[in-house]
């Protein structure tokens, strides 16, 4: 049964023009290649055409706009950094970051869908999978024919994944999987799930679980105030028989899922700049149009302070990401460097969404403008893929050598 029938017919297309231009105060475009800019502008044009007009209605009504999966795949949002021989983009990490930035400029929920598919499903299959697994899954995931999800977090184990209880037993000709995962983006409609579970020796391993396997269900999480255009659910494994060839052979331990999270967190660092730019640009436009006390509110010092600080923070975040992208391309980026960027940039974007909302006054409360949607979305983004506080502790451990987690 389709997750949502005929969504295209049911979503309202807004006639409001998307005026986004992109913020580049330090001429960071000069650090990009011609192809980077072509990719960035391509995704920007696609978001303007296919995402912006429907996203407000989709969010308000808590609908995942399933029909845009094909467009997302066409612009290369699914695993763009993985090799072309598996149907992926074969692009560098800066291209990947720019794609995430432009999609999240549209909506963090849309970017989440792409992040999960590319970094949390395709990346582990590429990095830790067998050649058969790569060939079986990657081309279909890249084209959007298959959608995937990633099962790590459990009801009782979020920031502490090592405590997971989901487990599997070797039954000779198959594995028997039991347990449950929670807060899983894409779960309700995913065709495949990359699931992390403990083997009989308590070692974390990755399994590819497919929809339709007996005992596997994906109930949807309802009543979210955030990422409302993205589908979230649980993964429930009740004596699921998983074929032995579905075990990811090339990784053992938490290093597996944490490696995937590094890739996704890198994308988030870029993505949230998109959300921040969208809020900032809207605030700039509004401050020039809205008049109070006989002049545009942009002429008042308090509004200028907000705008100047937003531009400063966006510019810093852009430079941070660009440098991190270069390190990623060289294979030198460390998890702690990625934590710094994820933590700083998500917080930056959330603050900008709030300040931009203030500049819009009462109008900022409505769905006429994007800030409240971005703000609510970013509350999830600052929590998932390592909370704001956990990233602080990762940095703290990096600095002092002392583990303050437990």
């Amino acid at each position: 049964m389709p997750y949502f029938p005929n969504p295209e017919e049911q979503l309202h297309r807004s006639a409001k023009q998307d005026l986004f231009q992109g913020t580049d105060f330090y001429a960071i475009d000069d650090l990009l290649t011609e192809e980077h800019i072509l990719i960035r502008n391509t995704v920007r044009d696609w978001v303007k055409r296919d995402v912006s007009p429907i996203i407000e209605d989709a969010c308000q009504r808590n609908i995942f706009p399933r029909h845009i999966i094909k467009g997302m795949a066409d612009v290369g949002a699914f695993g763009p950094q993985l090799p072309a021989e598996y149907g992926c983009g074969g692009l560098d990490y800066i291209s990947y970051g720019l794609i995430m930035q432009e999609i999240e400029r549209g909506d963090s929920g849309m970017r989440s869908t792409a992040s999960v598919q590319g970094s949390l499903v395709m990346y582990p299959i590429y990095k830790f999978g067998s050649e058969e697994q790569r060939n079986k899954y990657l081309p279909k995931l890249a084209s959007g024919e298959y959608m995937g999800c990633f099962g790590l977090t459990e009801p009782d184990h979020g920031s502490n994944p090592a405590g997971m209880v989901t487990n599997f037993k070797d039954m000779g000709d198959h594995y028997l999987l039991n347990g449950a995962k929670m807060w899983i983006s894409n779960a309700p409609f995913a065709d495949v799930a990359v699931v992390w579970a403990k083997d009989e020796n308590g070692i974390v391993r990755g399994l590819i679980v497919e929809r339709g396997m007996e005992g596997f269900s994906t109930p949807e999480t309802h009543n979210k105030w955030s990422l409302r255009a993205s589908a979230t659910g649980e993964l429930v494994f009740d004596n699921v028989k998983v074929p032995k060839e579905n075990l990811l052979p090339n990784v053992q331990g938490l290093k597996g899922p944490l490696t995937c999270l590094n890739s996704a967190r890198y994308g988030i660092s870029w993505g949230v700049i998109g959300a921040a730019m969208d809020c900032y640009e809207s605030a700039v436009r509004y401050s020039k149009e809205r008049e109070q006390f006989g002049r545009p509110i942009g002429g008042f010092q308090l509004q200028q302070k907000k705008l100047a600080e937003m531009l400063t923070e966006i510019t810093k975040a852009q430079l941070l990401c660009w440098r991190l992208g270069v390190l990623m391309n060289e294979g030198k980026a460390t998890p702690a460097q990625i934590s710094l960027a994820k933590r700083n940039n998500v917080d930056m974007a959330l603050n900008i969404a709030r300040e931009a909302r203030q500049i819009h006054g009462g109008m900022g409360i409505t769905g006429e403008y994007s800030m409240m949607r971005h703000m609510a979305n970013l509350e999830s983004v600052i929590t998932y893929e390592g909370t704001h506080d956990i990233h602080l502790l990762i940095l703290g451990m990096e600095i002092t050598g002392e583990n303050a987690f437990a």
Partner: protein, 239 residues
């Protein structure tokens, strides 16, 4: 195919108002040319054939040419010269196109920077082929081009034999966004650089001016037509 400043560009001039200030300007494919390109792709996808994107300009426009290849043109040609005016551009394209055996040459109705709207017509004349200006629909059937033009109060259907040239008007088609495969394929598609032929630019730009800034709105009582007449006559000097 022209490359023009992005529509959000703030236009300023340098060198005592004799040159357009290019500093910080983002360039895009002229939107009418993007329609031509898309329509050319639609026609060749349905009927076979290939599309060549031709541009007169310097190396800094290659990013836009690469985009044309990413959208789907099979090959591109850049005639390596600064586009001085419409006559010059038409002459350069004509010199290249002569003998290439192109069936259909599509241009935009105008470029959105200088808005001359002349290249297509001059080019067709130089090549001695029919020209259909400002088309909103164009099809090719059995070697015959059938195009529709919007005219005052109606529509005009025009037929011409191939080879033929035409210029695209808004609504000809929906412009395409490149996809990832197109961008990847564009890396290896041929972009040929051709040196310009001898030429005679017909004109030079002497001076640029910005339009006068918008003045304040003056409201006049509807019963006071006399004052309106007086203002239009004495202040605005339009009647």
């Amino acid at each position: 195919m022209s490359v023009v400043p992005d529509t959000t560009t703030k236009v300023t001039f340098t060198d005592n108002n004799t040159k357009f200030n290019q500093s910080g300007v983002q360039y895009i494919i002229n939107p009418y040319d993007e329609l031509s390109l898309t329509r050319a792709l639609e026609i060749t996808e349905a009927q076979g054939g290939s599309v060549t994107a031709i541009h007169v300009g310097l190396a800094d426009s290659e990013a836009s040419i690469r985009k044309a290849l990413a959208i789907g043109a099979q090959e591109a040609v850049r005639i390596n010269a600064e586009p001085k005016d419409a006559y010059f551009v038409a002459e350069q394209i004509a010199a290249y196109a002569q003998g290439q055996g192109f069936d259909l040459i599509l241009t935009g109705r105008e470029s959105i920077d200088y808005n001359g709207g002349l290249v297509g017509g001059i080019l067709a004349e130089m090549l001695g082929i029919p020209y259909i200006n400002v088309v909103t629909k164009i099809d090719v059937n059995n070697g015959v081009v059938e195009a529709i033009r919007d005219i005052d109060g109606g529509r005009e259907t025009v037929k011409a034999a191939l080879p033929c040239a035409a210029s695209a008007q808004k609504d000809l088609t929906e412009p395409r966004i490149p996809n990832m495969r197109g961008i990847m394929a564009a890396r290896t598609k041929p972009l040929q650089v051709v040196e310009p032929s001898a030429n005679n630019a017909g004109s030079t730009y002497a001076q640029y001016e910005l339009p006068p800034a918008k003045g304040a709105v003056k409201l006049i009582d509807p019963n006071n037509a006399g004052e309106l007449m007086s203002i239009l006559h004495n202040e605005a000097k339009v009647i």
